[in-house]
Subunit: 338 residues, 4 copies
């Protein structure tokens, strides 16, 4: 095995983070996310978002963040609108439904939900025999590695506000979305457009952890009760706080995302030059080239990656993921093999 492109969580954490965990290790701190590092990290995030009033909570993983937020924000009869490729729809083992809520799914467009689909969903549901759509779930980057443009987010946000819907963004790879070459939005913009979202750490250089941000005051109260109830309130909350404190000191979060994107773009460019197409345009650190099955077989001897889907009789879609730790050499070796 030369390199594993399976995921952006194959390696540990950026060395600065390990160092910070080590340096603070013997300090006695408050539990449950109320220590000074959690507070400092939250402050840094608020500053980054240019939103002094938002609530920030640290949790251990993305599925946890999603199920926690959605179950906290919705009433029993309220539902979620999502693309059919959405992580919550396909890859969370029914986590949202376990908390009692339906997902109204729509085909999406290269991983993106459209304002028209949202409006259609709202119009389709009109009486007490049906659920009440109440929260729009989008992922940025999407599950296909694509990135929402500002005007797309604005349009979605507008249709949400017009219909009294909450907009929630799964930001497992929010850094990568911000640093995509196609991106024209900042984290501060995200805070303007979303009622709540999370800033992913696990997939951008943290050892573990995500930062949930709630901007809408209506859904802030009692969130920590929901955290405790869902097993998301970490006794040593410091573990995540210390990491985010590093990630948002001197722009480390962006640098790591940028590196992951750059590696993936190099990979994508090489693949394109070799004459292959993609399931979705490569815009971030996950790319989805369509390869002949024969080539996939050969590549598998030296590289790790997932087969995303069959494409035709003789071709399949591969998912290649770069991380903050991917080295140029791995890219070169891969491109040499195709």
């Amino acid at each position: 095995m030369i390199y594993n492109f399976k995921s952006d969580y194959s390696e540990g954490a950026h060395p600065d983070i390990i160092k910070a965990l080590s340096n603070t290790n013997t300090e006695q701190l408050e539990g449950y996310g109320e220590d000074k590092y959690c507070l400092a990290a939250a402050d840094k995030i608020r500053k980054e978002l240019d939103s002094p009033g938002v609530d920030v909570h640290f949790v251990s993983g993305g599925t946890q963040a999603n199920l926690l937020c959605i179950s906290s924000f919705l009433k029993p009869y309220e539902s979620v609108i999502a693309a059919q490729t959405a992580h919550i729809e396909v890859h969370e083992a029914g986590a949202i439904e376990f908390t009692g809520h339906k997902i109204n799914k729509y085909p999406g467009l290269i991983g993106k939900l459209t304002p028209e689909q949202i409006q259609f969903c709202v119009d389709f549901h009109y009486d007490e025999h049906m659920v009440v759509p109440r929260l729009v779930f989008i992922s940025n980057t999407t599950e296909l590695g694509t990135v929402y443009r500002k005007k797309e987010l604005e349009a979605i946000y507008e249709v949400c506000k017009k219909n009294n819907l909450l907009l929630y963004i799964d930001g497992a790879r929010l850094g990568q979305a911000m640093k995509s070459y196609v991106s024209d939005v900042s984290l501060a913009d995200i805070a303007k457009f979303a009622d709540a979202f999370y800033i992913g750490g696990t997939k951008n250089g943290a050892l573990i952890g995500e930062a949930v941000v709630i901007t809408n005051p209506d859904i802030k109260p009692y969130f920590r009760y929901n955290m405790k109830q869902k097993g998301a309130l970490l006794a040593k909350g410091r573990v995540v706080g210390i990491q985010f404190n590093e990630l948002f000191r001197n722009g480390l979060y962006y640098k790591l995302a940028e590196h992951a994107n750059n590696m993936a773009m190099n990979l994508a460019n090489g693949i394109e030059s070799a004459g292959y197409k993609f399931l979705a345009p490569p815009e971030s650190n996950q790319i989805f080239p369509i390869f002949p099955n024969k080539l996939i077989e050969n590549l598998s001897e030296n590289f790790g990656f997932y087969i995303w889907s069959k494409h035709s009789k003789k071709t399949s879609v591969a998912r290649l993921v770069c991380s903050w730790a991917t080295k140029e050499d791995a890219i070169k070796a891969f491109l040499k093999s195709i």
Copy 2:
């Protein structure tokens, strides 16, 4: 503040654990708990338990372990029997009930559930208008720092098996229970008596994480699906695996627990010598002295601890907790102050 006796999760992790995280940091590993460190840690645990066939899963916290196991093991109409001091009953914000299950609580005896209470509960429930008690929840050490003796565990296990009940042990402080001066059981005994339990890391020197052990083959299948659904399947599962690999290399887990217990016993002996009584006999790293309110006020200037409950008009119960990191000096300073 001289020292904080609030909890055994005030400090970070034992230095060996930080070192292991650092040393393995750049390795590319499988995600979701299927990496070599998780596998090795599970093997070490199986060896320690003298139970080659048990399943071991790593999760991020105790409430998560409890809600995950209970909701995984029970059918909708089945309930849990627990002491009224049980963590799941009082201090998990309704986590078990959120997963749909009733807790049948009984007064307990210095934190312990008795076989008689279990039998009473089973006998009390007899038709379809009532829940079916199906799982007995005990904590060892208990929430009052007391420790189950072997014959107590045997008696509980026996009444469980007689009544087709599962026995589940919350082992947030299982190491401390094993190393208590009153203890006559080993981890291997625990594996014999319990259908499932967890070995606590967070409160015994880990940065984060607990090891869920399932011994009963009937409740093993599909557990990872439940983990994913409850947000408990960590992408970087390595984070917990690496830690448990350290904890169960050369007996570190026991050494840390023993130290915490020793510090607490020194503290307890000093407090007793000073003429104070305890809510429950001091047997592990949590002790519950009854102090005059005036003394508590004075102590609070230099020491951190929780008031557990009011005891009389002029006295209250304090909770003092020692950890793997507590230093002799802190004990001495505290004893000097009473």
Copy 3:
């Protein structure tokens, strides 16, 4: 078998109700509780309650009413305060917990919850590791056949409002409570004291059905969505509406309750005269005499009733229930047998 005192739902419906169902049978009506009989019945109930603004919904049974209301009114982390004899605590197979909510139970006093217990429960819960008590559940008549006096209800209501708690009354036998010889409250009083309650039909002469009344405007919205979601929105809602339209025409509801109470009081008086005591003072149509086991055995040959509990080695508590249909002769026959 001379007569069955097992329950007040052993017979069908009062003949007027059967007649009304028959007379309206061929009319084509709106579905889902929006027909003219449901509307008329709701209006009659509003008038009876002297509360023109309340919402009235018809459902098929008491457990359904309880789980529906509680799950509709509470947020995930909120809990219910109830007496340990409460129907929802003991005899609904975990229905409330299945909807995700904890019940904080207290011993009660002859079936009644006290304001002190409510206040204690509120004070006991103070941070995010614990549930937030939010709804007080009482049954009137209680599960022991006792009846809340006005000053008791006022005191409970007061402690509820002081602590931002909702007061919900299970009125499976609300008519019998109103017509108890000890009662000093009217249905209109109930509407003043409770945020929501239900008026029981099944146990007071209806074939099937209960009327849920919501007085607090904050918890009214979207209730029909919750009804549909829990399977409580009957396609032929008319079935319940027509019955309540009869029950609240010319005071039938009260007459039936009064008859049931009178029969039970005759029974109680005779039992008392014969020298037997009661578990709780006989105040409504359910009475709980303490009989020698030998007598119970003899009585069982000719009469149906439940053994409520063991009382001593040689005595047990029987539950005897009279209904709108119980005949004087049955009482006489029973009294002759003791």
Copy 4:
């Protein structure tokens, strides 16, 4: 208003049913579905199904039957496969999701799920990040009034058994399906093909109630506990038992369904003769003609019916439903108006 074609639950019950309720009214019977009429009705159903070993339970409505069965049969991580037109997917306000289970929906074919879709769903889900499809939900008649042929049911059943899936049939209009002119299956066939299903009463001449039938022994145990927990165990279970006892005495159930179908077929034939097309082939008592909006407007003055969906700019789909009580005159009047 000449006639209301909105539903088959606009009228009360068949007169024989009202009579039976009246005749048995004063009898004292066991509660909770254990009376002699429930037992007799269950026996008649077993005979009709030629399946002496099946379990039969009576509940008050279809949504209740669906949520009760599905939540009773599935483990937390298991999901339901259904057509996107399925009642549980669209018109039960998220009832299934509230019990914790995901619905995997597929487009369907005139309301029917295909074996290929079922196999696709099974193949698509393969690891613990995804739900485990475990129960296939079909409605017969479908929500579009179409009827499954024997070979269709056989093919679905076969793919279910091959993949360890349960087959559950929503039989709100099962009588109408059996008596459709296209049907080649009997109730006994249904019992052979389905692991569980319900025989609809409410929409075929009963006042209220459905009969749940469980044929698969693995999913029978403890069903009554689930009934109680979901508020589905009626105190006066007799109410439904007496009705089904009538429906299955001398074939009343079939006669009523046949009449409803015949009326609808007359209507469909007349509409077809007048040159209109249908959204789905008319096969049972619900038909879906495509009418010009202008005509719909005119018809609405004299007839009640729902607009099912828009079809084109100038046309819409109407839903016309006939019942056991629909008279020939209503059909004639309607056909005269188009």
